[in-house]
């Protein structure tokens, strides 16, 4: 007998005559209401990420100032990221085409992305490798990640995000910069992922 059959048979034997249970979903489910921008801003900041709120016309200028502030000269810009936003002076926008090697990604100064969904209650951004986001490694290897979040992408809570996302796409949920609690259970920001996360909320 294969191990597959062995395991499935054991499961069936163990469950013989065991009744099923009802799942009551009395918790707060998905809503149609938009997410609270102020709450999102505050919750992202709680993770010690840098947050700015700008209007559409101010995005390019804010991106340019943020990059200049870090001295970032070579940044990865995934396909589909609005080119008007990344046209900062003195900054080379590097395309991931052909795909950059991991070592190549390690040498850039940062990455600009958009996001698929953002969650107000938890201060989370979710990337789904869609336009303006690129493959998963882009927002991982560079030490600096600047994410532009349109207000319309902000949902209230986790159930709203799950309802909006497509599980067949590779998804990365990001809540603040990389961190660890492994030393005396104190939270320290900055381990293997980007040590600086900057979020631009576009109203």
């Amino acid at each position: 007998m294969s191990s597959r059959d062995l395991i499935l048979n054991r499961v069936r034997r163990a469950l013989a005559g065991v009744p099923d249970v009802e799942i009551a979903r009395a918790y707060r489910g998905p809503t149609s209401a938009p997410g609270d921008i102020r709450l999102f801003e505050q919750r992202v900041r709680d993770y010690r990420a840098v947050v700015h709120v700008v209007d559409e016309a101010g995005v390019a200028d804010r991106v340019a100032r943020s990059l200049a502030g870090r001295g970032a000269r070579r940044v990865v810009v995934p396909a589909g990221f609005p080119s008007a936003w990344s046209a900062a002076e003195g900054v080379a926008a590097i395309a991931d085409d052909p795909p950059l090697s991991a070592a190549g990604l390690d040498e850039v100064d940062g990455v600009l992305t958009t996001c698929a969904v953002a969650i107000a209650e938890t201060g989370t951004i979710v990337l789904d490798a869609g336009p303006g986001q690129g493959r998963r490694a882009l927002s991982l290897v560079p030490d600096y990640h600047l994410c532009v979040v349109r207000a319309a992408r902000i949902v209230a809570g986790v159930p709203d995000a799950v309802a909006r996302l497509d599980p067949t796409r590779p998804l990365t949920w990001i809540s603040g910069p990389s961190a660890t609690s492994d030393i005396e259970l104190n939270r320290i920001e900055g381990v293997h992922g980007p040590r600086t996360l900057e979020v631009l909320i576009v109203t």
Partner: protein, 471 residues
């Protein structure tokens, strides 16, 4: 540095391990500080969720429903993963799982793998098994790295190096990093940020060049074939994203029926485990993502035996958050090594004897590693009634002969009202002779407790004599 906890033999019963652990004041200090910090954080973010009780109820019900239909969901998961370009392997036991993984790694021609922290691979001793095949597994989670470099053992589900403080970690890094790759900086301090930076530098190059990664998974969605890994540092993302081949070893109880179920567990798990509204990174992928080769190894290793147990099967609802460890007064004082298992604390005390059986003295003693205070049940995000399972397991472990004789005598007395009354009358007459301290080995009980006073007259006798106080 203290080496007290290295190679704690698993054949000694819990009380002896615990007696040794509580004498280590450094360990007690480290644990008190760490568990106190995490308890406060968890309490804060749980209080913030207005529907916590409902989420917990739903989490429990979803897990319960999944376990009751586990065969169906496992087959569905297999189909979904296969359809998305992944390959599914089934492992009945640890040895088979280790062999499957070793063969998969060998087929790639690689001799080095990077690992995401995983309880399942700890449980089966994968690293040691791979080493026998000439394959070196590099742990990349900070706490796992501390344990691996220090040739230590994990003592907590979430933070395996919780028993180490920053000064001890600095010493481990300074002494042992060079043997595994890039050495620690010469001027390494015990500042946590500096220690995290040292780990970043030590592992950076390895992440960029290693071709095979091994992970576990927090959840596997049957409906879509999606695997979910929650983490903090980004080491998980490095392992899940950069290597060409990814092998995930996942216990069969990790399956969830539908994509929607994540709306519950992505709230329950981060708040219960690290005490955050959300953990820094969660990765979700379905089958062969972005051109990667993906293998899923489904692991039984005793789980179906637990599933067959009417009372104990609820332990399979566990999502490995470790909230029960952090609130447990016993764990806080003894630490994880005393439990002699990769699953320490209250959940370990019910999971280990069920998975491993009660053949050894240690495993028989684990259900007693609790004061039955119930704090673990209260914080459990899937409402596992740990105290009830502990009591049930206690009834199954073979008891010592004096205990059995005592219980048999008590049973005989309570069986007939006349026997009890006779004994109570005899007790009342002889009450002057009851000692304040019990003799011999029984004295250990009265060392810390007062013997209850024996009344002159039993309640029943008083009632008969006074007609309920009317005479």
């Amino acid at each position: 540095m203290s080496v007290t906890f290295l190679g704690m033999p698993a054949d000694r019963p819990f009380p002896r391990n615990a007696a040794r652990a509580v004498r280590d004041s450094q360990l007690r200090f480290n644990l008190r500080k760490a568990t106190g910090t995490i308890r406060a954080r968890r309490a804060g973010v749980v209080a913030e969720a207005p529907d916590w009780a409902e989420l917990r109820e739903a989490g429990k019900a979803i897990k319960e429903h999944t376990l009751r239909n586990l065969d169906r969901y496992l087959v569905q998961l297999e189909e979904a993963v296969t359809a998305a370009g992944g390959r599914v392997h089934w492992a009945a036991g640890a040895a088979e799982a280790n062999r499957i993984v070793a063969d998969l790694v060998k087929a790639t021609g690689e001799t080095e793998v990077v690992k995401v922290k995983s309880m399942a691979t700890q449980e089966i001793g994968l690293n040691e098994a791979l080493l026998e095949h000439g394959i070196t597994a590099y742990e990349t989670d900070l706490a796992e790295l501390i344990v691996q470099l220090g040739d230590d053992r994990p003592s907590h589900i979430l933070v395996p190096a919780i028993h180490r403080n920053r000064a001890e970690i600095r010493e481990v890094f300074a002494e042992h990093m060079s043997g595994w790759g890039r050495p620690a900086p010469d001027d390494l301090t015990d500042d946590p940020a500096a220690l995290a930076e040292a780990a970043r530098l030590h592992l950076r190059e390895r992440f960029l060049k290693t071709k095979v990664a091994i992970s576990g998974a927090n959840f596997a969605i049957a409906e879509t074939g999606t695997m979910v890994v929650l983490e903090s540092e980004g080491n998980g993302r490095m392992c899940l994203t950069l290597p060409r081949t990814l092998i995930s070893v996942v216990g069969i109880e990790k399956v969830l029926p539908s994509w929607r179920d994540l709306e519950v567990f992505l709230q329950l798990l981060p708040r219960s485990s690290t005490g955050e509204r959300m953990n820094p990174y969660t990765s979700m992928w379905t089958g062969a993502a972005e051109g990667q080769e993906f293998h899923l190894v489904l692991l039984d290793n005793g789980r179906t035996g637990v599933l067959a147990d009417e009372v104990g099967r609820q332990a399979l609802r566990c999502i490995r958050c470790s909230a029960c460890l952090n609130v447990c007064p016993v764990y806080e004082r003894t630490g994880g090594h005393a439990y002699g298992s990769v699953y320490p604390g209250p959940i370990g005390a019910i999971l280990t004897p069920q998975l491993r059986g009660m053949g050894s003295e240690l495993d028989r003693s684990l259900p007693y590693a609790s004061s039955l205070c119930g704090a673990c049940y209260e914080v459990c995000p899937v409402a596992i009634d740990i105290p009830s399972v502990l009591v049930d397991l206690r009834s199954r472990a073979r008891h010592s002969w004096p205990e059995r004789a005592g219980m048999a005598a008590a049973g005989w007395v309570f069986e007939r009202q006349g026997r009890l009354a006779a004994l109570q009358r005899a007790g009342g007459r002889l009450r002057r002779f009851v000692p304040r301290r019990l003799p011999g080995p029984l004295g250990r009980w009265t060392d810390t407790r007062d013997l209850p006073e024996v009344p002159r007259e039993s309640f029943r006798d008083w009632w008969d004599r006074t007609d309920g106080g009317r005479r």
